[in-house]
């Protein structure tokens, strides 16, 4: 019988699932991911996780609990670093994630928790794939073939994301190979950058379907993944020191990019309550927005109790202010001109 590998549908799922999906499938395994985040993943997560953990970590516990009896092997990589930049790493909770899950949840199936440390060594990604495949008793040529296929699929996927296709559609399109249509946007008059970590931005349960709602309100949205990667890496030169956390650096750099390009009318920063790095990220973004002539900036903090109405009220108020501000601005111009 075919062995199944479980992949929780949160945290790094939104950026790296297509890669691992292709890799494991090509090696002859069946990849199962948990259901999209819902009330029960949240409840399970809150029951299992340490009470001081932040919302995303609790959700991860929830997804693992849901998956653990359905699969033979759980894939929970230890994310240490994915690019060579100073000593950039991930948030401590990511570094200790496999341990946290093991300590909190009993009755886990076999776990693969290889260290994803791509900031060091030569051909780190290939070596990582060899190790993971080695854990699954796969060696030699098939591993190389799976690795190549995975890289191709990941490339397709990141291209879709860069084109502004929502992550779940992009993942679907990348793994099924079906062409992905760019969704039709209604004409928009306001452009907003929605910045934050992929597991908040792309999880529509957590962000209460923000993107669909914004599109309906006639707002065009930009995300971190839509910044061309070579431009992203060049940003943030004026930071006194790079932050230590990968997702945080990407978010700050994206904010700098959008501010510099003057591509957006405002910035929404989505953060999870109790997120350690975000306390700093948020302040750095705010300071930078001030420096660019006071670009409107709002922080949305999401937690276990996030109510749709509360989030939408704040967003609507923010957008109304943007429109008002523009009208006044145009008024002044037309009077003077």
């Amino acid at each position: 019988m075919e062995m199944t590998i479980g992949f929780p549908r949160t945290l790094f799922y939104f950026l790296y699932y297509p890669f691992w999906y292709a890799f494991f499938t090509e090696l002859g395994f069946k990849v199962v991911s948990s259901d999209p985040t819902n009330r029960s993943s949240l409840d399970l997560g809150m029951r299992e996780a340490v009470n001081d953990a932040c919302l995303p970590i609790k959700l991860y516990h929830g997804h693992v609990t849901e998956l653990k009896d359905k699969v033979d092997i759980l894939f929970m990589p230890r994310m240490v670093s994915i690019r060579k930049l100073d000593r950039e790493t991930f948030c401590p909770k990511f570094l200790g994630l496999p341990d946290m899950v093991r300590n909190s949840i009993s009755g886990l199936p076999r776990v693969i928790d290889q260290k994803v440390d791509l900031g060091r060594g030569v051909f780190p990604l290939w070596r990582l794939c060899q190790q993971v495949a080695g854990d699954l008793n796969c060696r030699g040529w098939p591993v190389w073939r799976a690795f190549q296929k995975a890289r191709r699929m990941q490339k397709t996927f990141t291209d879709y994301l860069a084109a502004g296709i929502p992550a779940h559609q992009a993942i679907e399109a990348a793994i099924t190979g079906r062409a992905c249509q760019t969704p039709e946007y209604p004409p928009s008059d306001v452009r907003l950058a929605i910045l934050g970590y992929p597991y908040l931005i792309y999880d529509s349960f957590v962000n209460v379907c923000l993107f669909e709602k914004l599109a309906r309100m006639g707002i065009q949205t930009f995300t971190v993944e839509m910044v061309p990667s070579e431009r992203l890496n060049g940003q943030g030169k004026n930071l006194p020191k790079n932050l230590f956390w990968n997702f945080s650096n990407r978010t700050v750099q994206a904010a700098y990019y959008y501010l510099e390009e003057e591509k957006t009318d405002g910035i929404i920063h989505m953060t999870a309550f109790g997120c350690g790095p975000d306390a700093m990220v948020d302040k750095l973004m705010e300071l930078e927005a001030k420096k660019h002539g006071g670009v409107p900036f709002i922080t949305l903090s999401l937690d276990e109790h996030t109510g749709e109405a509360g989030v939408m009220t704040r967003i609507e108020a923010f957008v109304d202010m943007l429109r008002l501000r523009r009208e006044r601005h145009e008024d002044i111009i037309s009077r003077q001109g």
Partner: protein, 361 residues
């Protein structure tokens, strides 16, 4: 130039001593207290941890008193501590403070020392002596504190021991030569060795673990040590400036230190999570098996490494049958609630201990 630095436990003793030897004018801000917290909260971002608020507030207090240069340690994460000084710099600039920063960071501590040396035009031997003097001062003070919290509760006659402690401390304040400090240390150790003590098993012993700032700064931990000592409880705490500094500043010590911790924390934590997460797990296991009756873990709200450690401590406590209390400290200043929880916990542990003894007899 008027140099200043934020407080963290006893580290100011070392810095002040070193700066005295180098004849650099410095200003010592008041120990962190409610005022530092208020000043820090004004500027600090929402969601930043208690240590950051206190450090930032402490810097502001120093700057308000007239300091113009701040000396502070940086770092490379993944704990937020390493970014404190960089963020503080931006926030203080934004608030209109004009200040220079001397950051001691990876690869930079030597360079900064050289800058200081050039500025003061002192010979190398002086610099070496400054570092050594500072080191011995903090080492001695921390040894005295360690002896006090561990053995005061065990002393049959605590009074003379307490008087001795005062004497040693006052001698240490005026001591500026290394041999004298070494002598104080030896005397203290000898006295404790010869002092009539109750057997350790008759006194309630508590181990403390947590992040470094909360462990070392009394205001950040609601003065838990005073509170416990007052109740006649013996405390074991491995966290100290003198055990931490060499392991991060001397590159040849780093590797083996970490290996050792990883071994002790296995299998509850298999990777270093920054800050003192690994230490908390390793020391809990170490202490609980040998020396103490229970453990208390203290950390500020939102402290990432300690949250990971907390999950490991939960499991470790269950597996090895160790009573562990984890308390998250936030920025509300309420000692009563804190003390009630600690008290209740200690009473329970005491009960367990008495029961165990009754079973043995």
């Amino acid at each position: 130039m008027l140099l200043s630095f934020p407080h963290m436990g006893k580290i100011h003793l070392a810095l002040a001593e070193a700066l005295q030897v180098l004849e650099i004018p410095y200003l010592l801000p008041a120990a962190p207290g409610p005022r530092s917290l208020l000043l820090g909260q004004e500027l600090a971002p929402e969601g930043s941890c208690l240590p950051f608020c206190l450090v930032l507030g402490n810097m502001r207090e120093a700057l308000d008193l007239g300091a113009d240069t701040i000396l502070m340690l940086g770092g490379s994460g993944p704990c937020r501590f390493g970014y404190f000084v960089y963020l503080a710099e931006q926030l203080l600039r934004q608030a209109g403070y004009q200040t220079e920063f001397l950051v001691i960071d990876n690869g930079r501590h030597l360079r900064n020392l050289i800058t200081l040396k050039k500025k003061q035009q002192v010979p190398w031997t002086y610099l070496l002596k400054a570092v050594q003097c500072g080191w011995h001062k903090v080492l001695t003070e921390e040894l005295l504190s360690a002896l006090e919290r561990e053995y005061l509760a065990q002393a049959v006659n605590p009074r003379p021991f307490r008087e001795k402690l005062v004497q040693w401390r006052s001698r240490l304040v005026s001591a500026h030569e290394i041999p004298e400090m070494i002598q104080i240390r030896q005397e203290a150790e000898d006295t404790v060795k010869r002092m009539p003590r109750y057997p350790a098993s008759e006194v309630l012993r508590v181990g403390l673990v947590g992040d470094i700032y909360t462990m070392l700064e009394p205001f950040a931990n609601n003065r838990i040590e005073e509170f416990l000592i007052g109740k006649g409880i013996s405390i074991v705490k491995t966290m100290a400036v003198s055990t931490w500094l060499p392991n991060i500043l001397l590159p040849w010590k780093r590797g083996s230190y970490r290996q050792n911790l990883l071994q002790q924390a296995y299998p509850y934590l298999r990777y270093s999570v920054g800050g003192f997460g690994l230490e908390s797990v390793a020391h809990t296991r170490n202490l609980a098996l040998r020396k103490v009756d229970c453990m208390i873990q203290l950390f500020p709200m939102g402290c990432m490494p300690e949250i990971v450690a907390c999950s490991a401590l939960n499991k470790l406590g269950q597996d090895e049958n160790i009573p562990i209390l984890s308390i998250t400290l936030d920025q509300h200043d309420s000692r009563t609630g804190f003390e009630t929880r600690v008290e209740a916990f200690l009473e329970m542990v005491e009960g367990i201990k008495v029961n165990k003894k009754a079973l043995c007899h």
